[in-house]
């Protein structure tokens, strides 16, 4: 049920982000979704791509520090209050969101949002029992 996300350490200086995207582009890796978390010195680029193994391989070969993290991709009704209804469930259950970001692509008629929870497994269980659709990794990579 979970989606594999790749995180890359990038120094906060010009050209580093373009270097990451260039390395991935040259290897034929397509970025499906991304977000950047940053401090004053560095950023953490989080990406979901169509070929995880390839992406990790080429980034490491180019001396980037890379890690893999499991995240959860959730279908969110694309209408006012859609995200709020999901966050309500999480709040009720005492689940914490470490970070989240949106996909550009849609899944059927819904928006797709990537979540990183403090307890991914419990979050999946809670959400599915509340009728929320969790999208499988394989479906996400090929969107």
């Amino acid at each position: 049920m979970k989606v594999e996300q790749i995180s890359v350490f990038v120094e906060n200086k010009s050209g580093r982000l373009s270097e990451v995207t260039r390395v991935l582009g040259n290897a034929g890796v397509n970025i499906r979704a991304l977000s950047i978390a940053d401090s004053s010195d560095f950023g953490i680029l989080r990406i979901i791509v169509n070929d995880n193994d390839k992406a990790v391989e080429v980034l490491k070969a180019n001396d980037f520090t890379v890690s893999k993290t499991e995240v959860v991709a959730i279908e969110v009704p694309d209408s006012p209050g859609g995200l709020a209804s999901i966050l309500d469930i999480l709040e009720r259950e005492g689940l914490n969101v470490e970070y989240m970001y949106a996909f550009v692509e849609r899944s059927s008629n819904n928006a797709l949002i990537v979540f990183r929870f403090d307890e991914n497994d419990r979050a999946i269980q809670v959400l599915t029992s509340n009728g929320i659709t969790i999208v499988n990794g394989s479906n996400v990579y090929s969107l």
Binding site: V10, S39, D63, T65
Partner: protein
């Protein structure tokens, strides 16, 4: 194992009698042969006849690096050039270069000292020695080379640089011992890993002599683990003879035995020049007592250490100098606090996951000194959450503040963004002096 049982285990009394005899001969020789020393002794009102006991050494004036530069190139040689069979020198990165000379007998003495050093590290006949100290004017390469030949080991005179080829040779020739700077060994490990080797498994190296730059006990542990070898700390300097002035031993791995039958060590207060008792930390000073071409009298090394006279488990009776904690001229004064790069290295090595790839950037903002500690982010310390990385930065900052007392800023940088050394690592960039 001990190379020269007779001299290396001399009882203290016999050793001191030998030192006095050799010291008197050296003082007499430089007084007669080197105008620089005659002038300085005369100014101080001391003659060779005044040296009646070892403590009379304190009557003699110090020699400093600038004296060597002022007498560049051959002004301090104590024999005619016709007896000098080799010269070595420093690169002169911090000023005018210095030059030293060796007679045939000096070369033999040096080989003997390096034979002792390698034996201290458990290296002997039958070993294959990968000698990655630079050959040339630098004393490291040829110093280790002659010592290794003297003990009857097989030497690979690979010198420094061309790291990938070094790895191939380490794999193909299967050396059992290595001699290089500790930072270069670390670089070799990195390149080997990039080439798909595990240094602990794929190489046959079981012993090494490392020196020519300050390094920490933590780094020893790390190097020993990476290569599965025994690392021994060695010490020397061109002005005194080159490597082979003192050496750690395999048995204790605690302090470096000064080869006192050839060099008399003293520890002084760097400010006042006063001689400090054993055990106290100060600047290390050497007097050579057997050298012919280039004797030195009370040469101030700028290295900070202390002397330990307690007998060692290895059986050697020579005093041990503590691992060098810094150089009085490496010492950074940051907002009035004395900081040695090696202290910061120890703090970093104590933090789980951090590798010894770091760099210190010292600068001045307005009138305030700033210290930035750059640490490379590897997979062990990387997290996809900013708060984790920020807490690591805070840990580095706090630990340095606690142990050294200076405020710094920690900056996490990408892997391999800190330049790797082929020889001595450049740990400090002091922008204040520019």
């Amino acid at each position: 194992m001990i190379w020269n049982e007779e001299f290396e285990t001399l009882p203290r009394e016999a050793l001191e009698a030998l030192q006095l005899k050799r010291l008197q001969a050296t003082v007499e020789r430089v007084y007669v042969n080197v105008p620089f020393y005659k002038k300085k002794f005369d100014e101080q009102g001391v003659t060779p006849a005044d040296i009646k006991s070892l403590s009379d050494l304190q009557k003699l004036p110090f020699t400093v690096k600038n004296d060597l530069r002022d007498n560049y190139p051959f002004g301090l040689f104590s024999v005619p050039m016709s007896r000098v069979v080799r010269v070595h020198g420093s690169s002169g990165t911090t000023g005018k270069p210095i030059v030293v000379g060796y007679t045939k007998r000096d070369i033999d003495t040096w080989a003997e000292l390096m034979a002792r050093t390698l034996t201290c590290a458990g290296i002997h006949r039958g070993d294959i020695v990968h000698n990655a100290y630079g050959y040339g004017l630098f004393t490291g390469g040829l110093g280790a080379h002659y010592g290794a030949e003297k003990i009857g080991a097989s030497v690979i005179p690979i010198s420094g640089g061309n790291t990938k080829r070094q790895i191939t040779i380490m794999k193909d020739f299967a050396p059992t011992a290595i001699t290089c700077t500790p930072s270069y060994l670390l670089h070799l490990a990195d390149v080997a890993k990039d080439m798909g080797f595990d240094p602990a498994v794929d190489f046959n190296i079981r012993a090494g002599c490392f020196g020519a730059e300050p390094w920490s006990e933590k780094m020893r542990d790390q190097l020993e683990k990476i290569f599965n070898l025994d690392a021994v700390d060695i010490y020397g300097l061109t002005e005194v003879i080159g490597p082979g002035v003192s050496s750690g031993c395999l048995e204790a791995k605690s302090g470096l035995h000064v080869f006192e039958d050839h060099f008399i060590p003293e520890i002084i207060d760097p400010e006042t020049g006063e001689v400090l008792p054993d055990g106290e930390k100060g600047e290390l000073v050497f007097t050579s007592i057997t050298k012919e071409a280039f004797p030195v009298i009370r040469y101030r090394t700028r290295d900070i250490t202390s002397l330990n006279p307690t007998p060692c488990v290895c059986g050697r009776t020579f005093k041990r100098m503590e691992r060098i904690t810094g150089r009085s001229d490496d010492m950074l004064i940051i907002r009035g606090v004395n900081v040695f790069p090696s202290q910061i290295e120890s703090v970093l090595m104590d933090i789980e996951g951090i590798e010894p790839h770091y760099q210190l950037i010292v600068d001045r903002e307005g009138t305030l000194d700033t210290l930035e500690v750059r640490v490379e982010v590897n997979e062990k310390i990387f997290s996809d959450e900013v708060k984790q990385l920020e807490s690591l930065e805070r840990k580095v900052t706090n630990d340095i503040k606690e142990t050294i007392g200076t405020t710094c800023r920690c900056k996490l940088v990408e892997p391999k963004s800190i330049p790797r050394s082929e020889g001595k690592a450049q740990r400090v960039i002091d922008k204040r002096s520019i």
